[in-house]
Symmetry: C2
Subunit: 439 residues, 2 copies
């Protein structure tokens, strides 16, 4: 029997405490699965005095994360403090340099410093596992890193932020505004007091950066991602989407195009029949399009103490079993540099909602301006204020919403056409534009 | 650089040919991911002369599978012949005994001889990987074996047979009979000339046996599974299910109960809003309920050459990387014996459809007989022949369908009540009974 794996945990918040409990509760199964025991030997956290309801008898309390990482009695350093920088960064680096394997749930740190840390892991032959950083218990890192090792990925996209999906779900189901739903999400603890990180798409971007690297062998780079949040989405967009056979989701999308890998986060119209469209509330989901095979979709909890801890313990079990995968699936030197996607060159279908001043004139103008840019219209819907639709367009005094769905075109063509329509002064306000992602 | 992994493939059908192509096409990525090359060195198949469009120059042609398995030039034996017995069984045993790792897509063999083969793998320290045996490219074996290593599973269930799901989807969407849809499935190549293996649930049972072992640490045992196929399902059941908020799916279910692990395959009513209910056509899906965490659902192609080959190559890559997971996640000696679930003790909700001879009398009789068995009714619907529903029950001459949904009860209570109703002669024909699975 091999000696047990000696685990040290830095950070005893909701996730850390749950990991401590799981290691204890699952002790027999873990040693059976790993061929050796998994033993918690040391911990550290901001406050030693805080009541956590954990039995830490016989577990050493380290002075600080760095001391824990350097503790020669620790084989595997588990970082659950969070934060894109210190003290997590130095502690993980120290552990890897000392040849200790590292498990972390820290998406911000991996998105920002993943390459540097992966290099350190490679040099010492240690593992750097971060399944919990994306989609918590959904095994998406393992699937991209190992499960599709022999399959070229053409696209990976997903609902990676539960807060945004909760807000969009309620907006759609109850016809409420973004602001109302955000307030509810905050009250229920799904959104932070400062919700920008979630609703402006930055949380999704960090996770997408990690997935894209695993999928395409590119260097993880958050700054290469185009990011747009959900605050501009109105209930009328969700209603129109539903009528046209779509739903609006905040997606992170990384896709192989003729111009390279495009990485983007934005509100997206997805066909109502797609797997990703069925994902409601705080649930997360990732769809992977592999070369020559139908899409694979993984759905599950993207956050929460128990779900995150489940992934952390699985990562620890891999370390105990002696599995040493390359952190991003390939050697760091082989990861290709990635440029920021020029969104003006993005190609796809578009949803456009305009407020027409005079319907008859507007329709003719829009048709002309779109035709000038060689944009074909898949459908056009004019909605009366009372909610009754009419495809036939008739003159009207007050501004009336007109909704267009285009066939695939380029983003700069769309904006050139809309700029021209605005200069023609036939619409009031700014047009709403939402990209469409086909499955 | 480590020497390349030398692969031998037995079986060059659709999957085998696709694996040969993938190993060639993904050669650079594979060596980058695995830290060593993956090289096809030998093959064997029934006919050497058959045109397959493969470039097998420099690849040895082995006399037979056993010779390939014993070839000292082969490190990893890939079995893609299929069949629950010979020649696959002896060849795999020989390879494992010689310390060679084995990759197979053969669900029948693993369901029947999995334990024996796992023991051989353990003894020699070789890997026995079979991701492709269940759900093709859906990484469900890896998820249960590794991704949830630290999480107790309470239930695993899924749509594991694309043929049945295709038939049920078309029956529901087009109101067609089972026989009509089966004929179409055969015409489209989704069903065999002898469809029994698929539509009677045996294919699902083989896959469920493997999943249950991985999820619960029980000995893989197909004979411990209760199996019921979909041929008795009528379009009116699907219509009634839809009206009551359900869909009918052929599920394989393995669940931890107070009486042990229950394994069963049968048509099942699932809530329309569940992830599994959204899975249409030939697509497969598996949902895993882990202790304390929301369900994880994996959706994707459950069959097809490219999808199966994707999983086979990922398994080969794991072998190349030196990963040696225990075949069923735990040592064979630790796997617990499993008894066949006594379905009469199964507990859950039930859908019951009866043809009432005389409605007023029947309603009273049913209510009495169910009450005698302490069964509570969640809803009752009486459907006129013209398709209009009426909850209020009125007298009528011709037999009229009556549909009941019960609250959770035991299966023997349901059948005792229905036997009594039949003895009362208030219904014509046999009642239709479908189990309900809540998410």
């Amino acid at each position: 029997m091999v000696a047990p794996l000696k685990v040290g945990i830095a950070g005893l918040g909701t996730v850390g405490a749950e990991v401590v409990r799981l290691i204890e509760q699952q002790s027999r199964v873990l040693s059976s699965r790993c061929g050796r025991g998994v033993r918690l030997v040391a911990v550290t956290a901001c406050s030693k005095a805080k009541k956590r309801g954990l039995d830490l008898q016989g577990v050493e309390w380290a002075r600080n994360p760095l001391a824990l990482a350097n503790d020669p009695g620790v084989d595997c350093f588990v970082e659950l403090m969070g934060g894109a920088g210190e003290p997590a960064l130095s502690a993980i680096e120290a552990a890897l340099k000392a040849g200790k394997s590292v498990v972390t749930a820290n998406k911000a740190l991996i998105a920002r410093h993943g390459l540097k840390l992966a290099r350190a892991a490679e040099q010492s032959g240690a593992a750097l596992n971060f399944e919990a950083a994306v989609g918590a218990a959904i095994p998406v890192v393992k699937t991209l890193r190992e499960g599709l090792a022999g399959t070229a990925v053409n696209r990976v996209y997903g609902i990676l932020n539960g807060t945004c999906n909760y807000i969009l779900t309620r907006m759609e189901q109850e016809g409420l505004s973004f602001a109302e739903c955000l307030k509810d999400a905050q009250r229920l603890g799904y959104a932070e007091a400062n919700p920008s990180f979630d609703v402006d798409g930055h949380d999704t971007a960090q996770k997408l950066a990690i997935l894209a690297s695993l999928a395409f062998g590119t260097r993880v780079s958050q700054s290469a991602i185009y990011v747009e949040g959900i605050s501009s989405i109105a209930p009328e967009d969700l209603r129109a989407a539903a009528e046209l056979g779509y739903r609006v989701k905040l997606l992170g999308v990384a896709v192989r195009t003729a111009k390279g890998i495009e990485q983007r986060v934005h509100p997206t119209m997805v066909p109502k029949t797609s797997s990703i469209a069925q994902v409601m509330g705080v649930t997360n989901a990732v769809t992977i399009d592999g070369e020559g095979i139908p899409p694979i979709t993984l759905v599950g909890p993207g956050a929460g103490g128990a779900a995150t801890a489940s992934a952390v313990v699985a990562d620890i079990a891999d370390v105990a079993r002696g599995v040493r995968a390359l952190p991003f699936g390939r050697p760091v030197e082989r990861l290709r540099k990635i440029e920021k996607a020029p969104m003006e060159r993005h190609e796809g279908g578009y949803y456009i909602r305009l407020m027409a001043r005079d319907l008859a004139g507007t329709a003719a103008t829009i048709a002309t301006r779109l035709a000038e840019q060689k944009i074909s219209i898949e459908s056009i819907v004019q909605r009366h204020a009372n909610g009754v639709d009419a495809v036939q367009i008739a003159g009207k005094a007050a501004p009336v919403p007109v909704i267009l769905i285009t066939y695939a075109t380029s983003e700069d063509a769309v904006y050139r056409a809309l700029d021209a329509v605005q200069r023609d002064k036939v619409i009031s306000g700014r047009p709403q534009v939402i990209r469409i992602e086909k499955n």
